[in-house]
Symmetry: C2
Subunit: 211 residues, 2 copies
DNA sequence: CCCACCTGTTTGACCGGACGGTTAGACTAC
DNA sequence: GTAGTCTAACCGTCCGGTCAAACAGGTGGG
């Protein structure tokens, strides 16, 4: 059974799995999952197609693994960015800076994420992955919000709901940004809009006119 | 050239084009554009595959036409819903009610819209369609916001930016809702969250702490 | 020290099904 | 007869997946 972590693996042993996942990640986000044949991924990693099936039994498995990998490193990056700030507003702004880290990176991730969302609604295996990521991210957001509420900075009543709304602002802006023709140049503008909108939403004074 | 509106068309003449588009719309949203072969669309409409290519030269054309159709009727529906209200808050709430019109309808539309967004970022033909829809929708939002600002109800500074943020809240919540396993039951909850978040964002008192 | 031998890796050739698109011709209705 | 509509059969290609065989590198026995 070709599991990972071979007992006598030297540190410099190239891990084909990671090579393939990284190449797949790049190609999937460039062209969309269903428009990338296995041959192309293998060629991109300098390997033969047979090997892809050798490591990941099926294409679906490779897609799943690639998405999981992208989700993991992205969540970790955001977590890192947040940890550097301390005040509630500082944490939110740091988080948004961490999320809008760079045009290229963001585009890669969100295009793949769109594919995931589409799959999650239709194929059961992806639903699970999507749900996991969802709870990870929303927990992160809810934590920040809860802290801000506790310190009296935010006027949110339900942290769960606040997390959903905050995330909606971020995801929704990304969705618009992705479809811009000159996305590279507009990246900073969308990031700033995101910050202002997030603050505006969170900072409403308690008791404002909510239907 | 098989254009629409034949000169001597009786009112009861079945329009194959619309039949096909409607069937395609249903199937595309159920399974995703690239997982629906032309045979299936034709069969679903009770016609032969050849006819699909006869009317829409290529599959891409059919996809384009289907998306345009879905975009049109959706925008029109929202426009109708908005027109019934008069006050700024009333208009926003009516708009959101119009958008979150029903679980089934919303799911159909947004799943197809996800496909469009993915295509728009990669295939030029779809970019145009996406841009058109984008400006139509944002203009609608900006109008509502501008009116609310003029009447002193909203604390938004830039209506363009406000429209983008408002739309982000809506789209972002839909994106989350789509991935819920029990989306049917959660539809009302997301709609209410959407209303509260929209109002909270729009109603912030001018001069609140914006970075 | 060399040679079988095994286990995990890698490749290239190949298969079969799916699917977009083509075409020849039938069937209208005027 | 002619122009528009419609079908069924067909084609070529793409692509996920299979398979037999080659190729390491390590291990143990002689």
């Amino acid at each position: 059974m070709p599991r990972n972590a071979p007992s006598a693996a030297p540190a410099d042993a190239p891990d084909r799995r990671v090579d393939l996942i990284r190449t797949a990640y790049r190609l999937f986000s460039e062209k969309g999952v269903h428009r990338v044949p296995l041959d192309e991924i293998a060629a991109g990693a300098g390997l033969s197609k047979g090997l892809v099936l050798y490591y990941f039994k099926t294409k679906e498995n490779l897609v799943l693994a690639t998405m999981r990998w992208a989700l993991d490193i992205t969540a970790e990056r955001v977590r890192q960015a947040m940890s550097k700030a301390s005040t509630p507003y500082g944490k939110v702004l740091a988080m948004i800076d961490g999320i809008w880290s760079g045009a290229e990176t963001n585009r890669r991730f969100y295009l793949l994420y769109l594919d995931l969302a589409g799959h999650a609604a239709r194929v059961h295996h992806f639903t699970e992955l999507s749900a996991t990521f969802h709870s990870v991210v929303n927990a992160l957001y809810a934590e920040v919000i809860a802290q801000g509420v506790a310190e009296g900075a935010f006027g949110i009543e339900d942290p769960e709901e606040g997390a959903a709304a905050l995330r909606a602002i971020i995801d929704g802006l990304f969705l618009q940004w992705l479809q811009e023709a000159d996305w590279e140049r507009l990246h900073p503008w969308y990031r700033d809009v995101c910050k202002r909108a997030a603050i505006a939403y969170l900072a409403r004074t308690p008791g404002s006119p909510v239907a």
